[in-house]
């Protein structure tokens, strides 16, 4: 299903924030470094998940200026 760039950014940001509020690796991280790594992992996973859901290759993502990311 096609997704616009705007929707892509909004959905991704919401998914990341939701995980950051609940994910034990992030919420209960031992220190700031561990929390950073957990956050990085969450961001990457959610990005890849959203790309997969919309048939996008995360390594060949395209944005046009007035539409969503195109299929690679």
């Amino acid at each position: 299903m096609a997704i616009t760039e705007w929707e892509f950014d909004r959905v991704l940001d919401a998914a990341i924030l939701k995980r950051l509020r609940r994910d034990p690796a992030y919420v209960h991280a031992e220190d700031a470094e561990a929390q950073t790594l957990a956050e990085e992992q969450i961001e990457q996973e959610e990005f890849e998940r959203l790309c997969a859901r919309h048939g996008l290759d995360p390594g060949r993502l395209q944005f046009s200026d007035n539409a969503g990311p195109n299929r690679a």
Binding site: W6, F8, R10, A32, Q35, L37, G59, R60, Q62
Partner: protein
């Protein structure tokens, strides 16, 4: 022009570049002070892209406490509502005094509709140190009205940032109208693939003079197929 990346600081250490800075967010609050002291140019966003509620406010205020008085802050975006200039103005007047008290430079987020660019407009020119070009549509963000607002902001000596700049063409456009910094999802996800292209485009700056962006144009694609 700077590209402000929202990625976590330790990972960004591997990407030193004169056009790379950081855009810290409330979600990073335990680490924002380290970022601010790291020597890279930095600003702070409000995490309000998906709405504003009491939990977001709590996180925003916690971030403000963490960065209070730290040197080198380019701007802190006051809370805003995407696509609603009126509510954004109300939120600005609620939070900007707090930022001033903490020694932080407030940025007003420009949202459509109804913006003007003279001193009688909703833009609180006298109370800001930066202008953040937000907006829900590229027609607004890349239109002549915003271009005039940016020119006015520069005449007042304000820092101008454009949010969600996700193509090389839009980077060039932002530079051509005088933006000082941009951010965009495109450059920080899979950054080994995309970030360097974005930084190079930011470094090219105003050498790339472009006209208005065609509505249906396909742009240069960062990565392998460009």
């Amino acid at each position: 022009m700077l590209l402000l990346a929202t990625q976590a600081q330790p990972q960004m250490r591997a990407h030193r570049h004169p056009n790379l800075g950081r855009l810290v967010q409330p979600r990073h609050y335990p680490r924002v002070a380290d970022t601010a002291r790291s020597g890279v140019p930095w600003a702070a966003d409000n995490d309000a892209f998906n709405g504003w509620d009491t939990d977001m406010e709590r996180r925003f205020l916690r971030m403000v406490e963490a960065i209070s008085g730290l040197p080198g802050c380019l701007f802190v975006t006051c809370p805003d509502i995407v696509g609603d200039a009126g509510l954004t103005s109300l939120l600005f007047h609620e939070y900007a005094p707090l930022l001033w008290r903490h020694g932080l430079p407030p940025a007003y987020v420009l949202q459509e509709p109804g913006v003007e660019y003279d001193d009688h407009s909703p833009i609180p020119w006298g109370a800001i140190q930066a202008l953040f070009i937000g907006g829900a549509t590229n027609d607004f963000k890349l239109g002549p009205e915003v271009e005039a607002i940016v020119a006015h902001a520069h005449a007042r000596g304000l820092w101008v940032h454009m949010g969600r700049v996700n193509s090389l063409h839009r980077i060039a456009y932002a530079a051509s109208i005088g933006c000082d910094s941009i951010d965009g999802t495109q450059w920080v996800r899979y950054r080994d693939t995309y970030l360097l292209d974005g930084l190079h485009a930011c470094g090219a700056g105003t050498q790339l003079r472009l006209g208005p962006v065609p509505q249906s144009s396909e742009q240069h694609v960062p990565g392998k197929d460009s």
